[in-house]
């Protein structure tokens, strides 16, 4: 009986403690810098799209929310004709970012994705593409890998090292 009263008294005392609630829209919670939120497509320092349309992100995606169609421009440079992410399915796991060989696809800290219409959560390339480099300033995939252009293969230009032989064990 006394324990009951003690319990009631303890609960009553909680009226004088501060609520732990974070009142979200007014009070923003702290987000760690590596937070995984809305996905973007970044550009390289020259302002070109980084995405080379390799489909690795689409394959890595566990919920299958990424769809794209690769194509080539007149110089043989691959890029996505269209790129679509369905954010109503995305689970923000970050596997696409890990899979991407060109740092094109990146996750940002934005998590406020509410829409009145479900279809508005399907983002097309023009919604995904940003004008900056994202987390990796200065990185340009083709500067690292070399580029095959008309009449010249990788590593054949002046002052250009030969590309790494992927099938060799030698460094």
């Amino acid at each position: 009986m006394l324990k009951l009263l003690k319990g009631i008294w303890l609960v009553f005392l909680h009226a004088f403690t501060r609520p732990v609630t974070v009142q979200y829209p007014e009070e923003k919670p702290y987000l760690p810098p590596r937070w995984r939120g809305r996905i973007i497509l970044s550009r390289d320092p020259d302002g070109e799209e980084r995405c080379v349309g390799c489909y690795l992100c689409s394959v890595a995606c566990p919920v299958g929310c990424i769809a794209l169609q690769a194509t080539e421009d007149e110089h043989g440079r691959r890029y996505p004709a269209w790129f679509r992410i369905n954010f109503s399915r995305c689970i923000f796991c970050g596997y696409c970012e890990e899979a991407c060989p060109t740092y094109a696809i990146q996750l940002t800290t934005d998590f406020e994705l509410s829409e009145h219409d479900r279809r508005n959560l399907v983002y097309e390339k023009e919604h995904l593409l940003i004008s900056g480099t994202g987390k990796y300033p200065g990185y340009n995939f083709y500067r690292v890998s070399g580029l095959r252009i008309g009449g010249k293969d990788k590593g054949e230009a002046e002052h250009e090292a030969a590309p790494t032989d992927l099938r060799s064990l030698m460094p």
């Binding site: 009951l4 319990g7 009631i8 303890l10 609960v11 009553f12 909680h14 009226a15 403690t17 501060r18 609520p19 732990v20 609630t21 009142q23």
Partner: protein
């Protein structure tokens, strides 16, 4: 003519106040529970979330008013009305101030007990008419609980009646001019508080609607405003029991400096808060614990209280 007008005015005033308060109680309960659980509760709609009640009301009126095809239709519709009617009838005898009382019956206390017993029918009928096993179980539990707690609820009040020498609630308040009955009748007060908790089907005695076991107990099949009526009935019941505790044990409208109606409101409000605090703090009893507690602990205690009070009254005022 003048007297009729004033009576009508009092009836209208009491009705409007009570129904508004019972709606506001929903907000109060959610806020207080929030504070006791270290959160805020509804604080978005209007100042301090006060308009949450309006939002809830609009929502509940928009809901489909559905009578299940397998239900006993007439009884199903009547049951929610019964609880509101009986509890509102009980308020007729509650003396809010020396002048504000709808009907000053000379058997006011008996009328209150009779009406609160009748409100048990609402729950039983709702459980029966729903034609649903969970509802029926809720109704069965409610009838058993009401029966056993009704007994010592009445007995616990007889001490007060003996001390005041009257069944009229106004006389009972007047008899507490010197000392409130919560001091000579402390046992009676505790028993009545517990019985009142059981009567209003509140935690820890909410087994008729035990959400964890019976979906929602007797009002499983109810929706829309019929469900709302049960809700309002529950909160009206809390106000009623708090008001009765104030009247019977805490001197009703009596108190220094402030006007009577303010004193009455303050005391009643504190007991309403106590009801909510108990909900925040206590777990639900098991059904057999509830019955054992009622018959083996509370009933003997009520009888002891009755006997001792009777003996003391007899010693103090020997019959002529």
């Amino acid at each position: 003519m003048n007297e009729t007008a004033s009576t009508l005015l009092i009836i209208a005033g009491v009705l409007v106040t009570l129904l508004t308060l019972s709606a506001l109680l929903i907000w109060l309960e959610r806020r207080l529970l929030g504070f006791w659980q270290e959160r805020y509760g509804p604080n978005r709609v209007g100042p301090f979330g006060l308009l949450q009640v309006v939002a809830d009301m609009i929502k509940i009126f928009m809901k489909e008013d559905w009578v299940p095809p397998f239900a006993d239709k007439a009884v199903f519709v009547i049951a929610p009305a019964v609880i509101i009617v009986t509890i509102l009838m009980s308020f007729a005898v509650v003396p809010f101030t020396p002048s504000i009382v709808v009907a000053d019956l000379n058997v006011g206390l008996l009328f209150f007990l009779a009406m609160s017993s009748l409100s048990a029918y609402s729950v039983v009928l709702a459980g029966w008419a729903s034609n649903n096993k969970y509802s029926l179980l809720g109704g069965l539990r409610a009838s058993a609980q009401m029966l056993s707690y009704e007994v010592f609820m009445g007995l616990s009040l007889m001490g007060v009646v003996m001390l005041a020498g009257s069944f009229s609630l106004r006389d009972i308040v007047a008899a507490q001019q010197g000392v409130w009955f919560c001091i000579p009748q402390v046992l009676g007060f505790i028993i009545f508080l517990i019985a009142g908790l059981a009567e209003t089907k509140r935690v820890p005695f909410d087994i008729p609607e035990a959400e964890a076991e019976l979906v929602a107990g007797f009002h499983t099949e109810y929706s829309g405003m019929k469900f709302g009526m049960f809700f309002v009935g529950e909160y009206l019941g809390i106000i009623l029991i708090s008001a009765m505790i104030t009247v019977l044990f805490f001197g009703g409208w009596q108190g220094p400096w402030l006007p009577p109606v303010v004193w009455f409101s303050i005391k009643t409000f504190l007991f309403i808060c106590l009801f909510i605090l108990l909900r925040a703090a206590l777990p639900r009893l098991r059904f057999d614990q509830l019955m054992t507690f009622g018959w083996k602990v509370m009933l003997p205690l009520a009888l002891v209280n009755l006997t001792v009070t009777g003996a003391l009254v007899l010693v103090g005022h020997p019959p002529e």
